[in-house]
Symmetry: C2
Subunit: 242 residues, 2 copies
Amino acid sequence: MAQNIYDDPKFFAGYTTLRRQKIGLDGAPEWPRLRAMLPPLAGARVADLGCGFGWFARWARENGAASVLGLDLSENMLARALRDTADPAIEYRRADLDALDLASGAFDLVYSSLAFHYVADFPKLVAAIHRGLVPGGALVFSIEHPIYMAAGKIDWIDGPGGRRTWPVYDYGIEGERRTDWFADGVLKFHRTLATTLNDLIGAGFAIARIDEYAPTPKEAAADPSLRTELDRPGLLLVSARR
Amino acid sequence: MAQNIYDDPKFFAGYTTLRRQKIGLDGAPEWPRLRAMLPPLAGARVADLGCGFGWFARWARENGAASVLGLDLSENMLARALRDTADPAIEYRRADLDALDLASGAFDLVYSSLAFHYVADFPKLVAAIHRGLVPGGALVFSIEHPIYMAAGKIDWIDGPGGRRTWPVYDYGIEGERRTDWFADGVLKFHRTLATTLNDLIGAGFAIARIDEYAPTPKEAAADPSLRTELDRPGLLLVSARR
């Protein structure tokens, strides 16, 4: 079973101060890129793995999805999702992505934002998603980028000539990473970019597009804090088709 | 036109001391991985872009290829390839990958080792390769990894706790990189991993497999110098199908 850090009171209190949690999808700088990877939503049956507060579930319904199944391990997240949602075509269910079981061929789109890096067994997860999608169905997800996660650090260092530098080591050594982020010992799993893509291809997916999120010059000018994302990618977005 | 650094006497003198140039394919630690990505060679018509001394061309013929066209910009490399090759089914030709022109549908395999990062216009190159391949044909290539190339440095730094650390910055800023490697100002082009894969997909290729070369534990034990490749990938290998 995955670590349920979102139900750790200290973590949850910190996490809910994030802009992307306070104002939803538009508070996440990568959202326009992730949105651009989505297939047409009209009539689509959608599963959202790691649905959190239900921001995406509600947005998908507003944009034509026939139904959304939102899964999350956190009772805190699900309680607020239920509180904020009044839509009989959205169902929330508590589930552990380490033991995902989707009805066969029941979905046109499986979506996930920043959840898969908590999952230990990625091939198992990907096989379950593949079974759950109709042929031609789409998997669109974001994870922490392996360059960001490799060394298990979340701080910049002074590099050559005092240059702000992202430290990379142990990139090729996959497995557990522990970070202190709102709570101590948050457990994530580092996989190389090659492993992530090869696991998808091995399960029968075709890679449609990947995006190592970085701002455009216009975005970076509007929000200088995004310049760091040009120095090293923090997020990896992937679009694949069954 | 690409920079013809291989005909710079200082560069060429240094370059030819590399193990992979002295003993050929088996001198390159990534070769077994690249070889595993190749389609069956029996009867295949092969193009090798950046053929160098012709090591791969001769190996492909020994392994059943019907013919090999080896292209390189360097007169030094081609002269030695010609000297070392006695096989009427191998043709060497001087060519600039910035202006590649392959006969339409003339090849079953396009192969390239560590040449594409010298090419400025990758979409143009990829379109030319796509035209040159038969439907179902394979493109298998290696390049310097964008993590390796991003900061334009080729040296490790002391990171947190004195840890050997690879410096990453400017990953999202694509374009020219100049390094001093056997000669001053060797010109390469940094592209993100996303750009490399998306350009291939955009040209009509399906990504079959990628490999961010790292040694196995056995390989690292046999050659401790390879441990660095577990800290950050130096090479990216890609297999795609038209």
